[in-house]
């Protein structure tokens, strides 16, 4: 804005200057003219011309008078007459000779008259110069001749006078005009100069003000820089330090004078202490972590911001340095506390796992023995005792499960294992299992479904089972001789299916004031006449958490004395495909197994081992025991078995490793392996599948479960589908949907992909984790598509490990993956060849 004003001023200046110059240009010739005119006026080439002309008449009259005086004076008057004649003659002569007068008279138009005058006096000469007596005598004639000259004389005088007068006037006027012009031009010139002077004084004021403003601004900036708590360093384009503020002095411990001799790269290194290339050529602002070197040589971690600007066509770089030691310390502390928390988490999880194993294993023993004893119990009383024992044992197990469950939920939240399941089957199973307990209290338990066939859904079956079981067992607890109805309705919505599960009972009901708190932890309601308070009070709490985790709602309607209605609303998507059917609980009855099997039992706990052995031998199976994985693997490799029951947690060698060994070599390589585990965690299921375990059963194992499990494989155990390198069914489906040349093209592509993957993965340590995870995911998908089951499972596990723990050491994975791929590749290659010739 100010600059445009300045511009305007400059335009004015130029204008005024040009006016002044123009005026000067006019002035010079004018001055010359004036000087000239002044010269003229000073050196007037004019006599008092008018006086001279007038004098003509005077002298004429005097001559005439002298002539008339002859009348009286006669000869005495002659000298006077002659004198007067001479004067007149001389006068006329002068008028005629002088160019000045001649011109004037001619201008007046009296040149002719002058001629008349001249000839007139010439004519008188003979008379005047003649004898005196003659002159006196002829005086009459003289006067006569003379009077003829009177008129011309008068004329000359009058007109000459007039002309000369006007001439003088004109000259005066011209002089006046000249002076006037001179005055005007001088005035213009002076105005122009004055204007310029005013302009310059204005400009001076503006510039002075500007200078003052700049001074204030620069002072302010200087103050900012000087008092800034951040270190500010200014350098030129080469990095030579040109400014170093007090904060920089105290930060880097450099005296200002010394710092000004240094280059920036002397003072600032990168994070690892290597020299940097500052100023960086980047445009715009950037910020980086670097380290600064103090005068005494030590390093300080810094955050360095660079800004650049141009000044006078030179680049100037400005650096802000911040000491980030505190920040780094805080980060470290944060990381440390996070690690501690993670360690604590892991410790907790480990504790949980251990505790659940520790608690459940003896319980398993108790219940197992009780199960065994059932057959050998003879008396009614003993049977009753046994029933009580079993019941207590079951209750205890239930409590342990609940506590461990909620502890795990609290520690890690609910991990829903989404898989397709058959809802009808689930409901049947749950209601069937609790019907006994219901009947024990004289309750009628019914199941109603709307629609009658609910179908398959995607969800966590186990947790859903937990919800329903919990609600039903609560209903049983608080109802005697009543009605318990399980009602499940399914309605289609755009999001999926809205399931409403209602458990209604005709029990004692819940007091209105307590209805809000039933879902809280450790809340147990008084059951009035009931003698024993059963339950930990955690059941509904767990249910609530599960429902919340599933994104549903739960609630209760109750009337004291009338009964209660617990409702749960969930939205579950409909299942697309059904992979596995959930085994339906068989109703009670004697179990037959089929043909006797050769069973290898690998279990470290002696009691459990004993129990299981007894159960199996009662069913006519042959049982070989091994107390840890190593022994078990040894035995399995030397001897072929129909089924191997493998405990997971064992000393010396666990079930997973033993399975690997068995599967790698030996006569039982393809034997069906069933894992027994006290705790089933999702991740482990993947692992089990991957090493080749066909089935996982959780402890405690009831007899029923054993039979069920064993019955599934009456015939020679086929290598499970889970154990295949290439699943032929998937491959078949895959190749049926494409043309044969596309199939082989695709398969060849996947072989290439696999080769490159293995190569890349051997360099896994130098790759960024995210890239690696994506790579694994992609290849895993390809494997799934063509049915490379084992490889796919391994990759899936690797992927989830990568996602879970980015610091995982990947080196143990390299060799197994390589081996797996080699095997898969061989089979793929064979298939391609085979498919090509087909």
């Amino acid at each position: 804005m100010a600059s445009s004003r300045i511009k305007a001023r400059w335009i004015q200046g130029v204008l005024l200057t040009s006016v002044s110059v123009f005026a000067l240009g006019l002035l010079v010739p004018l001055w010359l003219e004036v000087t000239d005119r002044l010269e003229q006026l000073r050196t007037a080439r004019s006599d008092t011309v008018i006086w001279t002309v007038v004098q003509l008449e005077v002298e004429y009259l005097e001559f005439e008078m002298a002539a008339r005086a002859l009348e009286t004076r006669r000869e005495e008057g002659l000298p006077e007459l002659r004198r007067r004649f001479n004067v007149l003659y001389s006068r006329i002569g002068t008028l005629q000779q002088s160019p000045l007068y001649r011109v004037a008279i001619t201008e007046a138009g009296e040149f002719q008259n002058l001629g008349v005058l001249v000839s007139g006096v010439e004519a008188l000469l003979p008379l005047i110069d003649g004898p005196d007596a003659d002159l006196v005598e002829k005086r009459g004639l003289l006067i006569q001749q003379l009077s003829a000259l009177h008129v011309p004389t008068r004329r000359i005088v009058a007109n000459g006078n007039y002309v000369l007068t006007t001439r003088a006037e004109v000259a005066r006027e011209e002089a006046a005009k000249l002076l006037w012009r001179l005055g005007i031009v001088s005035l213009i010139l002076f105005s122009g100069l004055f204007g310029l002077a005013a302009l310059f004084s204005r400009l001076y004021v503006i510039y002075k003000r500007r200078a003052r403003e700049n001074l204030i601004t620069s002072q302010r900036l200087a103050t900012v820089v000087t008092t800034s708590p951040d270190a500010i360093i200014v350098t030129d384009a080469d990095g030579n330090i040109s400014d170093f503020n007090p904060a920089a002095v105290s930060l880097l411990n450099y005296e200002r004078e010394i710092a000004l001799t240094k280059r920036l790269s002397d003072l600032i290194r990168d994070e690892t202490g290597q020299p940097t290339s500052l100023p960086a050529a980047q445009r715009g602002f950037f910020r980086q972590r670097m380290s600064g070197r103090t005068q005494d040589g030590s390093s300080i971690p810094l955050e360095v911001s660079q800004g650049a600007t141009s000044f006078d066509h030179q680049r100037v770089y400005i650096y802000f340095l911040r000491n980030i030691s505190d920040r780094l310390n805080a980060e470290e502390a944060l990381l440390a506390s996070r690690d501690r928390a993670l360690v604590g988490e892991r410790a907790k999880a480990h504790f949980l796992a251990v505790m659940s194993h520790e608690m459940r294993t003896p319980l398993n023993g108790i219940l197992g023995v009780i199960d065994l004893m059932r057959d050998s119990v003879k008396t009614e009383k003993d049977s009753h005792y046994l029933a009580l024992l079993e019941r207590s044992g079951q209750i205890l197990l239930g409590h342990v499960n609940e506590v461990l469950d909620i502890t795990e939920i609290e520690a890690r939240g609910i991990n829903l294992n989404i898989a397709p399941f058959h809802l009808d089957a689930l409901l049947d199973e749950v209601s069937a299992s609790l019907r006994v307990a219901a009947r024990a209290k004289g309750n009628q338990l019914t199941l109603t479904c709307d629609p009658e066939e609910l179908g398959h859904f995607m969800g966590d079956a186990m947790r859903l089972r937990q919800i329903v079981a919990n609600l039903l067992s609560n209903a049983i607890k608080f109802t005697s001789g009543g009605q318990i109805d399980l009602m499940v309705t399914a309605t289609k919505t755009p999001a999926g299916n809205r399931l409403e599960i209602q458990v209604a009972d005709t029990g004692i009901g819940i007091d209105e004031s307590l209805q809000g708190s039933v879902f809280d932890d450790f809340v147990r309601l008084d059951r009035g006449r009931a003698s024993q308070a059963e339950g930990t009070g955690l059941g509904l709490g767990i249910v609530r958490r599960i429902v919340t985790a599933m994104g549903g709602e739960i609630g209760v309607d109750s009337m004291k004395g009338e009964g209660s209605l617990f409702w749960v609303i969930l939205t579950l998507p409909v299942a697309e495909q059904v992979l596995q059917t959930v085994p339906i609980e068989e109703p009670e009855g004697p179990e037959t197994v089929g043909r006797p099997l050769n069973v290898l039992l690998v279990e470290d706990n002696a009691t459990n081992r004993f129990v299981l052995k007894e159960m199996l031998e009662q069913d006519q199976h042959t049982v070989v025991e091994a107390e840890n994985g190593q022994i078990g693997a040894e035995i399995a490799r030397r001897r072929k078995f129909d089924v191997i029951l493998m405990d997971i947690n064992m000393p010396v060698m666990g079930g997973v490793q033993a399975t690997r060994l068995i599967r790698s070599d030996g006569v039982s390589k393809n034997t069906r392996i069933i894992a027994l585990t006290a705790h089933v965690l999702d991740q482990d299921t993947q692992l089990y599948r991957e090493v080749g375990i066909d089935r996982v059963v959780s402890k405690p194992i009831s007899r029923r479960n054993i039979y069920r499990v064993l019955r599934g494989e009456a015939t020679e155990a086929e290598p499970g589908r889970l154990n295949k390198t290439l699943d032929p069914i998937v491959l078949e489906q895959f190749s049926q949907s494409l043309s044969s040349e596309n199939v082989s093209k695709l398969l060849r592509g996947i072989i290439k992909e696999g080769d490159s993957f293995v190569q890349v993965f051997s360099q896994a340590s130098v790759m960024p984790r995210s890239t690696l995870t994506d790579l694994v995911h992609e290849f895993s998908g390809s494997c799934a598509m063509i049915g490379a089951v084992r490889l796919r499972n391994t990759l899936a596990r690797l992927e989830s490990t990568l996602r879970r723990n980015s610091d995982e050491d990947l080196r143990p994975w390299v060799e197994p993956l390589r081996v797996l791929w080699r095997e898969t590749r061989t089979e793929l290659h064979a298939y391609v060849k085979h498919a090509g010739t087909a």
């Binding site: 000073r42 050196t43 007037a44 080439r45 004019s46 006599d47 008092t48 004098q55 002298e59 005097e62 004198r83 007067r84 004649f85 001479n86 004067v87 003659y89 001389s90 002569g93 002068t94 000779q97 002088s98 160019p99 000045l100 007068y101």
Partner: protein, 180 residues
């Protein structure tokens, strides 16, 4: 002629007495003779001395010869009363004043037509007013601004080209008045 011979005689010491006799004789005889002689030996300039009351006290009459005997001066100039360059020959007015012993007084010059003009002592300098008796080699008749015309060397200096100088350029000069 007489004036010339007198000055000659005065110069020579040893023949002074002789010449003084001759002069005496001649001067006795010459007045009447000059009266018979032509007008060229008559007086052309009358110098009158007056007192404060404007009464004539004394007078000197000068003839052309006497004037011509004074130191001669001449110059060339144009004038506004004539055409072309004119050659004037005469005597500086200053020299005339020296001859007349007039130094401190204003002098008044008048002409045949009673034209009167004043000269102050500082105006009467050599190189200034010239009493000219010859123009272009010939003497001037009264009918041609003669016999005596006071002229200035107009061309030589602009200060001679002013109206007052022109006014002082009196022609047909016949009389000088001095007040003492």
């Amino acid at each position: 002629m007489v004036g010339v011979s007198v000055s000659w005689g005065l110069r020579m010491n040893w023949s002074r007495h002789i010449w003084a006799w001759v002069v005496l004789v001649v001067s006795v005889i010459s007045p009447p003779m000059s009266a018979i002689a032509d007008s060229s030996s008559s007086f052309v300039l009358e110098v009158v001395f007056l007192d404060k009351k404007e009464q004539p006290v004394s007078s000197i009459s000068l003839s052309m010869e006497e004037l011509m005997a004074l130191p001669v001066a001449e110059f060339e100039t144009t004038t506004i009363w004539s055409e072309g360059k004119q050659h004037f020959r005469g005597v500086w007015l200053s020299d005339l004043m020296v001859h007349l012993n007039i130094a401190e007084e204003d002098v008044y010059l008048s002409a045949l037509n009673e034209y009167l003009v004043e000269f102050t002592p500082d105006e009467i300098v050599p190189g200034g007013p010239l009493v000219a008796y010859e123009r272009n080699g010939t003497s001037m008749s009264p009918r041609d601004k003669g016999p005596l015309w006071v002229v200035f060397p107009y061309d030589q200096d602009p200060k001679f080209q002013t109206e007052s100088v022109f006014a002082q350029s009196i022609w047909q000069l016949d009389r000088i008045e001095v007040y003492r």
